[in-house]
Symmetry: C2
Subunit: 328 residues, 2 copies
């Protein structure tokens, strides 16, 4: 019998989860839950239904794992512990400073109800974190580097849109190639924020807006742009819609370190992602961990976990023998 | 108290384990075991002792994890199950076709004695296998590519040395850059053996040997070279010793796959290693998994496992809270 997945929240991430379920024959979409009027939400899966999020609780017996697709700022801190009282849950909580308290809240709820909750799943946090952990365990005493991009930063795009006179905007974070090369060489460089990434902005201004002022406000914006070399391009709404509608992203996790009695040998471990669709890739990771949550639940485990706590075999539909034969 | 590690077999790998223990303050070298005369073996760690491998059994109470550093052909199939009767064990068994029977033999011995055995640890099998598994779970229906090198192949170097008139040799396996680029582009190429790797050989011939015949015998050698574009360079023993004494290696694991309702988005996941010393890196992975074996043993687990079965957190000396705070 297929693992029955519920999706809570139907934005880019929720739709990505729906698509990922289609790619995994051992799973099926049980239902989508929304805060909007369910009748206004069109989903892709034939036969699957959309319900109001208030109805989720009543469906606890027909859903194995609930994947929470809301935002980290306000949705997940409330939803993940709440849903963990009735379901195994997966979320992509990514507010780093609040992970300890989120972990604790989900852990308490999940342990009390006998469910498994896996938080902060995706690629960063998620696959990048895993690669940092593995590389740190193998090369203690080395150096970690994480680069992001080339990709769209939603937060930075939103920040530009809040500038007066800006109608629409898209911001790309771009790793500096020479910095990547310096890291890969094993030279162990100390890199400033400015040396690691540049920021490129495509901005649609309102008619008659003062472009010079907009550009200045963007490049000097504290936290978001002031510490970076930022380029601003003014384009039309048509150009933005035509050339910048995708949500690509990616990045690099690199660890360099030494081995040998006198540290005489250098090693470089590199993990990288090149993603056409940030939300769809994140969703694909969420769905793989939903499989793990279901299986851990079947074994009687409970409580909050992260990607660090899950043995890789739980993510795959293959058996132990098949994995050893085909992938080891 | 530090985790007490025993090393069985003191070649390049055993010495690498010794060096890796030095880099991990939560571990200590308890003893080295050898089939040679123990008095003939000089080790690096002050205060640590070398024993005959027959004495290992008697020291079961002073060693927590035994790391087996013998070869996959004849040593490990016998040693790993045997030692699993007295110790938690780690090996780097890499004869792919025999993994199922090796797994079973170690599993039976380890379960009977209540120990943990982790087999096929290293980078391939090992870290490369893990990356194949993670990427397969995230992008079902995609394509896997593994490239090796640039690096020294011991097996191919040995094969050249068996050619009549060859005094010494070193063979490098080199991934074809254009093939790597084709894979990274997501074009999903079908690649032949010849298209993926080239082989470069540095050969010291005996005085007066027929160089033309040697070259021909090498490049046409079935299994080893016939299916590759192979280059042969004749050099002096001095040049070989000076320029080719290292044992570098590395490689690339790439998975490409699609997401989206109509497979409209492409993704590339890439993991790569660039290693100055193949045996020292392998040893560093073995030691990280020794930590995992020890901890699993403390929890009362037993039986044979592979890297697929070990939750990543077990590899790190950091606590769950520290990992979530620093690496997630």
């Amino acid at each position: 019998m297929a693992i029955r997945i519920g999706i809570a929240g139907y934005g880019n991430l929720g739709r990505g989860v729906e698509c990922a379920i289609k790619h995994n024959p051992d799973m099926e979409l049980a239902a989508v839950f929304t805060r909007r009027n369910p009748e206004s939400v069109q989903i892709l899966t034939p036969g699957a239904k959309v319900y109001s999020i208030e109805e989720a609780q009543a469906m606890k017996d027909s859903i194995d794992v609930m994947i929470l697709c809301g935002g980290s700022a306000t949705d997940l801190p409330v939803q993940t512990p709440e849903f963990a009282r009735s379901f195994h849950v997966i979320d992509s909580f990514d507010t780093h400073a609040h992970i300890p308290q989120h972990f604790q809240a989900v852990d308490e709820a999940a342990k009390e109800s006998g469910h498994v909750g896996i938080i902060s799943v995706g690629w960063d946090p998620g696959m990048f974190s895993l690669n940092r952990l593995y590389a740190n365990a193998i090369l203690p005493g080395g150096s970690d580097y994480t680069f992001w991009g080339k990709g769209v930063s939603q937060g930075h795009s939103d920040a530009i849109r809040r500038v007066e006179g800006v109608k629409d905007a898209r911001q790309y974070t771009i790793p500096v190639e020479s910095a990547l090369e310096a890291v890969r060489s094993g030279r162990n460089p100390q890199l400033t924020t400015r040396q690691k990434h540049t920021r490129e902005c495509f901005v649609v201004a309102e008619e008659g807006a003062d472009l010079e002022r907009i550009e200045k406000e963007i490049v000097t914006m504290p936290n978001y742009f002031a510490d970076y070399d930022t380029t601003v391009h003014f384009i039309t709404q048509e150009e933005l819609d035509r050339d910048h509608k995708g949500i690509p992203h990616g990045g690099f996790v690199i660890r360099t370190g030494k081995t040998g009695w006198e540290d005489e040998n250098s090693h470089v471990i590199e993990y990288s992602l090149k993603l056409d669709s940030n939300p769809e890739f994140t969703s694909s990771v969420l769905v793989a961990y939903a499989r793990a949550a279901y299986r851990l639940g079947q074994e009687g485990q409970s409580g909050c976990k992260t990607v660090f706590d899950i043995a890789p075999a739980y993510l795959s539909p293959l058996s132990g023998e098949e994995l050893r034969k085909n992938l080891l």
